[in-house]
């Protein structure tokens, strides 16, 4: 009973302080709002309108026709043209263009050969692309132009049989936002949850409140729980903001199974908060707490599968990523929101988060001494 009174005292106090700290309160809402708009619109893996140039040595009607056809694919945008490859290569080095199309003087002859030889092999290509290959995503976009049909009628000729047909479930239009928005919840919650809790305890230490608090009969676990609960609420608010706006602005489906959504998010929030508490037992100042948060945040963005496919990482990196709560949550939230999975289907990830929370909370409670030395 006394325990409950004490925990509720901490929760109440924390909520009051949060509601009076206008900047923090604003950040609770603004972080998900702004980041969602920013990332939702900005992050796009569908490469379009690469700045490109051409070197046209044939200067014929066919070459101009060909250039128009390439423009129409929207993959590249010809911003300029050069007279020789030497100048064009220099332009790539300087970063003025990402790709250069070289059309040789005998283009018409080559096109003719291609046309005739289409069914056969050994024909010389019509021209070639020089690409700034430092970004694999850009070079593969240009590579996609390799098999572009050269003439309207040639479609019928060059059409090759498809080995496999691909049916795209869950995101048939292949829009990036559909994948990004649920993942964004993981990133934003990682950031705010860890930072809020770690700062909440370290701040008391910095401002001298802790010295008073630890001479009172409050127990470490009571203090920890009292600090966690208010931020669970904050986490849910942020999740709802992101999902609701994601639905309105980017047509991301809203989770059909709300119970599952709340269960997995609750698990993830607990894990992040427990991690924040763990940091707070180590950090002496709010700045240190912030640095440690960033230390966790960066891998949570880059390794969790939020930005790059998890399966593409080498195995040791995958093991490392499994240690991050964000990895499990990214996997689960995408399953629940996009694939209508039930939380029960996600036993492994749920269990991982639960274990992580319990371990982190126990270590934090054990490490939190009601002492100054």
């Amino acid at each position: 009973m006394q325990s409950i009174i004490r925990i509720s005292a901490i929760i109440f106090k924390e909520l009051k302080q949060l509601s009076r700290d206008r900047i923090t309160f604003a950040m609770v809402v603004m972080i998900p709002l702004v980041q969602l708009l920013l990332f939702g619109y900005a992050i796009n893996t569908d490469v379009r309108y690469l700045p490109a140039a051409y070197v046209d040595l044939s200067q014929t009607a066919s070459s101009r026709q060909l250039l128009d056809r390439i423009r129409a694919t929207q993959v590249v945008n010809f911003v300029t043209h050069y007279d020789s490859m030497t100048v064009a290569e220099q332009a790539i080095t300087e970063g003025k263009v990402s790709a250069v199309l070289y059309l040789p003087a005998d283009l018409e002859l080559r096109l003719l050969q291609l046309h005739q030889a289409a069914a056969k092999t050994q024909a010389r290509p019509a021209g070639h692309w020089v690409v700034d290959g430092s970004d694999p995503m850009i070079s593969s976009a240009v590579r996609g132009l390799r098999l572009m049909p050269l003439q309207e009628e040639s479609k019928t000729i060059t059409k090759t049989a498809v080995s496999f047909e691909v049916v795209s479930y869950f995101n048939p239009e292949q829009r990036t936002a559909v994948n990004i928005v649920p993942g964004l919840i993981a990133v934003i919650l990682t950031m705010t949850m860890i930072l809020f809790t770690s700062a909440a305890i370290v701040r008391e230490r910095e401002q001298g409140n802790m010295e008073f608090l630890i001479t009172t009969p409050i127990k470490p676990l009571e203090l920890m729980l009292g600090k966690i609960v208010p931020y669970i609420l904050v986490g849910f608010i942020q999740m709802l903001i992101i999902l609701a706006l994601g639905h309105l602005l980017f047509d991301v489906p809203f989770a059909a199974d709300l119970l599952s959504l709340f269960i997995i998010t609750f698990l993830f929030i607990c894990a992040s908060l427990a991690l924040g508490l763990l940091i707070s037992t180590k950090a002496q100042t709010q700045l240190q707490a912030m640095q440690m948060t960033v230390f966790v945040l960066l891998p949570s963005i880059l390794l969790s599968g939020f930005m790059f496919p998890f399966a593409a990482m080498p195995e040791p990196a995958q093991w490392l990523a499994e240690l991050l709560p964000a990895t499990h949550y990214v996997r689960m939230i995408r399953a629940v929101v996009l694939r209508e999975a039930h939380w029960f289907d996600l036993g492994f990830d749920s269990l991982c988060l639960l274990l992580f929370s319990l371990i982190a909370l126990s270590i934090a409670t054990a490490r939190f001494k009601k002492r100054l030395d």
């Binding site: 009174i5 106090k13 409140n209 010295e211 009172t216 009969p217 002492r371």
Partner: protein, 309 residues
Amino acid sequence: MTEIAIQTRGMTKAFGQSIAVNQLDLTVPKGCIYGFLGPNGCGKSTSIRMLTGLLTPSSGRIEVLGYQLPQQAEQLRQRIGYMTQKFSLYDNLTLLENLQFVSKIYGLGGLAASERIKQLLGLYQLEQRKHQMAGSLSGGQKQRLALAAATLHQPDLLFLDEPTSAVDPENRREFWERLFDLSEAGTTILVSTHYMDEAERCHRLAILELGEKRADGTPAELMAAMPVQVLEVSGPGLREIKQQMLRQPLIVSAAQLGSRLRLLVSDQQRQPELWLSGLLGPAYQIEQVRPSLEDVFVTSTGVGYAEHH
């Protein structure tokens, strides 16, 4: 039931190489106001933190209200109040919210808590400000609020770490009145200070320097036990005379107070007045005066109090 609130034997705290508190033996009787007098960095706060269980002593035995520290610190917490040197309540909560928070932390709920808070608000004249943010209070108000919070659960033993350092003299007097009220009601109070006038109000006090106890007892005992006589000299050229006097081995200290020079002369000189007038000549008036606590401090530490600052 023992009549001793705090007893330590050989209490020592070292932070790495530096020793903050060295072999401190203290005996604080119940119901008294006990003062720690000493310059900054003499180990006052460290001692208080060990006595409240916040710091683990490097060696020595500590018994507070019958509990062995640091082992039984948790049981002790419900029975002590601690007012930290720095204001330790929440600036962005109102006065009332702060007190409500503290009352819940001590497990006080419902009617009992609100009665007690009302009583404290009245006692410390904070009733009109109860909806004001604690951060916007004046130094004196903050200090009264902190005292109210520290005594909310009616502790048997109250620790005050330099409670009046940010308070004007008027408020300081008022504050001490409240401490005497608490003492009257049976609370044992341990207060650290670097103000002489405050130390003089204590029932008993210990003079600390560099982590060691130089003297302890009641202010009167301490003054009587001093091995020096206190004399004041007035006349021309006191700055010059001061230097001259300090060269005399029998003169423990010389300090100028306005137009007078206060000298502490060793008891080895049986007739200090005669001896001094012989030294100085007829141009100077010499008068034996009542010793003060500052003199006690100077003789027990060997350094002028002001020179510490």
